[in-house]
Symmetry: C2
């Protein structure tokens, strides 16, 4: 397939960090991104509610001719991947398996620390995937990191202090070789996380799920781009304010978003 259509779904803007990695990777692809911003954040909601929301969005993207679906949301992947796979008839790539595989390849049999939202941690999805790959995982819920990133405080002393509290608590119980960023908002504070780890005396390596997920998606397509293959294109849908999506989303994508279409699904 030389010019696939790829659906990318997240509860909000975070999944744009995955789209950012995908855009240069698969030339000729067209991406349809859907942010369920009317019902974000998923991170503190129950499994039943998250599965219901995620399935609605997955069906929308399949109907928009997606050849493959990326669940660029850790919470939806952790709590609803089987339900999403059952609801659509196209391949589905979540964000957890790729980053766990990447960690296992770089640090076999290692101790890893997973930073994530409360719902993702409670699901124990990372722990189960890690165990299946011979990694020992400690999970740490970090509920304030998403609001801090959305406040724009990515390089801010309060964010560093919150990171210091969360990481200090986590490092009391483990000595990890790798840190998995289990939320698509966290790549925006990856360097703050890395430097706080050094301050706290840890040499752990930060592994970003966006890059690992993009590589897993690319492996689904046998693509040798011709010199004439055009760059990838994308279109964005949001279930709430398109103006806010355009402004905040551009930061996550690190690229201007010219147009966002409003989508009215579910509640």
């Amino acid at each position: 397939m030389s010019s696939p259509t790829i659906g990318v779904f997240d509860s909000g803007f975070g999944g744009l960090t995955v789209l950012r990695e995908l855009l240069p990777l698969i030339r000729g692809a067209h991406y349809v991104y859907l942010g369920d911003t009317a019902r974000l954040p998923y991170g503190a909601k129950s499994q039943t509610t998250i599965a219901r929301y995620a399935v609605e969005s997955a069906r929308f993207l399949e109907q928009h001719n997606a050849d493959l679906l990326v669940i660029a949301c850790n919470t939806a992947t952790a709590l609803a991947l089987p339900q999403i796979e059952a609801a659509v008839s196209i391949p589905v790539v979540g964000v957890i398996e790729p980053v766990v595989c990447a960690a296992q390849q770089r640090h076999p049999n290692a101790d890893v620390l997973v930073l994530a939202t409360s719902a993702t941690v409670q699901s124990q999805a990372y722990r189960q995937h890690c165990e299946a790959h011979g990694l020992r995982a400690t999970e740490k819920a970090c509920p304030l990191l998403v609001p801090l990133v959305e406040e724009g405080w990515t390089d801010h002393h309060v964010t560093r202090e919150v990171l210091s509290i969360y990481l200090r608590e986590a490092l009391e119980t483990c000595n990890p070789q790798a840190i998995l960023l289990g939320c698509t908002h966290y790549p925006l504070i990856a360097s703050a996380i890395e430097s706080m780890l050094r301050t706290l005396g840890s040499q752990a390596v930060v592994i970003d799920s966006a890059q690992a997920t993009a590589a897993a998606v690319a492996s689904h397509f046998d693509i040798t781009p011709l010199p004439s293959t055009p760059p990838a294109t994308f279109e964005c849908y949001a279930t709430d304010s398109v103006e806010k999506f355009r402004l905040l989303g551009s930061q996550f994508l690190a690229h201007p978003i010219d147009k966002v279409q409003l989508l009215n699904i579910g509640g």
Copy 2:
């Protein structure tokens, strides 16, 4: 009406601070509380989305025989009060008018500072209500305060630092005599707000919307309780995890919540 049924609606747990003030005030009343926890927080969503959600909840409470409806949510009051009033045929009390009236009675013609969520500030509802009562209002969006309260960091140095940043920014542009807490989560950090104001050299008085709203509700009922009138009772509905509602809600109500019923409305 000696034993009214009163519906109380919020996007989540915050409105329980209003219920807390109502419970001792109207003996014999029965309260039906609905927290739309599946779709919280409303604070960063658009007017259209908030109005749609709030109207669904208001209709549910009217169908549950409420004689009066309290919109114990600043964002829903700011963005959807007219739509809610149009959708039901019972009296509706929002949280904004009562607290502005209380401020005007205590500090006529004063400068006031309103702390609220982004959506409430963008609506300019407080500014308009204040102007109508001869008060000059400055509004300050404080998006991190709700997540900090929900993290349980009500007495925490990070919360004090965030308050210091928000209040310092606000006090650069005004010298208020009163601070209006424009979010039902904020009463849980009212004393931290008050002490940070003193640290920053402000003598402004903090006025709590929960108390003012409860008094406005009580004025709708001509009640002289008999010694035999039983204490008020309440029941709770939530649109997401009832277990989380029970645990977190008990802190906001400052009273154990034994049972929460799951409600499936809208998305």
